[in-house]
Symmetry: C2
Subunit: 345 residues, 2 copies
């Protein structure tokens, strides 16, 4: 397993959603390992793609602007790739409830399109899919391992489940090797922080940097696990290089759970700015709240040797340093200001 | 619960896929209970819709030919209905693997379309969705209850999962009351028997009636449970009339499991014709075989008082009598003959 990094030297790989948060951090690691990286990204305005995310590596990667919904384009692009890191997606569960059909097109239909393209044009490829812990919904037990029931609570979660299952079926039935990483709350540099519709952690970080107030619903006793984006990228590298992952799903979670209260306290402490206020649960938020959630990631440790390494304080330091240095690259408009508190999922 | 039948007197209901196998049998029961039945069906050529299925009740139901993929049509049709029995679907898992995008359009996207139509134009409606035991895939334990992991093994199963989850989310988040019945192997009059791509039981019945050979893969020791279509229709009636079903999934299975060997022996005995031959598993069939499967239906019994009533011998007698009387209405072309043995799922 020590060899998974040298596996990528000179190897042609593709990253869908490669200008986004996780995709671009993965691209940076792959470029560093000498892979031949093809980034595919739609740069849809409200999504996470950002050309600045590949600042400094632009000469070592190839960028192809394309939408994964475009079948003929995908049919062409998947050819001759050894590994596809399949991260393109609509990641806002709020948007998925406002416009469920668009979420379906991107998270469900496009996954079929990509897999069909592989089956027809590149059946020897390995595909690593970015799944999500949202597929579990409100957990029956903690920590949540991969034997937990799948029970998504919103349209985005449903479509992500379907996208994941397609990968497993194409692995099992058509031999297009594939696996899924069910990511918990990922944080770090290069995340979208322009608005708060793609999860709360990036938004909280922005609020702290701006010295603004962070609102927590209820008493903040709910727990989550957070995983630094470099650790997540490492999980993708390991999964892409190993056939032990074929047909499997893996939780990719953080070192240990932390309550929202302690999370925000730590964040404000590291940032040296920002404040916290506890507010009543809005009724519609309370209705879809899933309580505490944290993942058991022992399966990926057993199978691929992956473990999270970056502790939350260090991760926050690196993230805040990054955004302080490049704030204007990530906050180019004042969208999202109407909703000072993020929806916590 | 005794009142669930009188609930339907004079009540406006809609059945998507209402000219199909289960939909038409349900329509017949609803017409008998005095409901105002609107049947919506696309009559797509290779699917199960058949106008003869409503022979004798055509004056007591209204038929609207439409495709559930047509959003504007669905927006109109869902209005003023008290209950929607949502049975329209692409039910061939073989077809789903050949043409996954069509399966997605019908089983996934159209479900969103119907639910969005309800949310916008008829939020007080109750929707009962026809789910499938295929969502469970290869079972970890027997009998399979609703706490079993969902792990579909083909594209059809995945899209049916997504369609089901949409219903639950619209129930939980938007208050559009909905539930899902996970049907096991349903058999009875009015099933499509023109080809063998929609499950093996109807096809076996046809082969027996025609005095042809039924092929069983391996030794036929695998078990399934079979449920007669009238019992299934009764489950839909109970689910549609009760708010205890809201947001829930229920297995709807047969009285007891039976091996393929015993099933075919019984079928040939009842039919007085047909023969059986045991053949080697084709490799590609063996690869996707799920072994034995039978459902634990105690949840729907506890919650809605439903139990299967028709024993297999009686069900076969009624089914064979029906097809013998109306064979030409169901076998108008000799499609499917190239594949004498059905794919067993």
């Amino acid at each position: 397993m020590a060899d998974y990094q040298s596996f990528y030297r000179g190897r042609p790989v593709m990253i869908t959603g490669g200008l986004g948060f996780i995709g671009s951090n993965l691209a940076r690691q792959l470029a560093g390992l000498g892979a031949r990286v093809l980034i595919v990204d739609s740069l849809l305005p409200e999504y996470g793609g950002n050309l600045f995310n590949i600042d400094g590596i632009e000469d070592r990667v190839r960028v192809n602007i394309a939408d994964v919904r475009q079948a003929s384009t995908m049919n062409y692009l998947v050819r001759d790739r050894d590994v596809i890191f399949n991260l393109a997606g609509q990641v806002s569960h709020i948007d998925s409830m406002r416009d469920p059909h668009t979420d379906l097109e991107i998270n469900c239909r496009s996954q079929l399109t990509i897999l069909e393209a592989c089956r027809q044009a590149n059946p020897g490829v390995k595909v690593v899919y970015a799944g999500t812990r949202q597929v579990y919904g409100r957990p029956d037990r903690l920590p949540v391992d991969e034997t937990h029931l799948v029970r998504p609570t919103d349209v985005n979660g449903i479509n992500k489940v379907a996208g994941e299952y397609y990968h497993l079926v194409y692995n099992n039935v058509f031999g297009v090797r594939a696996c899924s990483l069910r990511l918990t709350n990922v944080y770090g540099p290069r995340q979208l922080i322009r608005h708060n519709r793609q999860g709360f952690i990036g938004w909280f970080i922005r609020l702290a940097i701006e010295g603004r107030e962070i609102q927590i619903y209820g008493d903040g006793s709910q727990s989550r696990d957070f995983v630094f984006v470099d650790d997540v990228a490492d999980a993708f590298l390991r999964a892409g290089a190993s056939d032990a992952s074929n047909g499997e799903v893996f939780n990719v979670g953080g070192l240990e759970p932390i309550s929202h209260r302690d999370l925000v306290t730590l964040l404000i402490d590291v940032a040296g700015s920002g404040s916290v206020r506890y507010v009543e649960w809005p009724a519609e938020q309370k209705a879809i709240d899933i309580g505490s959630f944290y993942a058991d990631s022992s399966k990926i440790e057993r199978t691929l040797g992956w473990k999270p390494r970056v502790r939350l304080r260090e991760g926050f330091e690196r993230t805040i340093d990054y955004y302080r240095a490049h704030f204007d690259r990530y906050v180019t408009e004042r969208s999202g200001l109407a909703q000072p508190s993020a929806e916590v999922v």
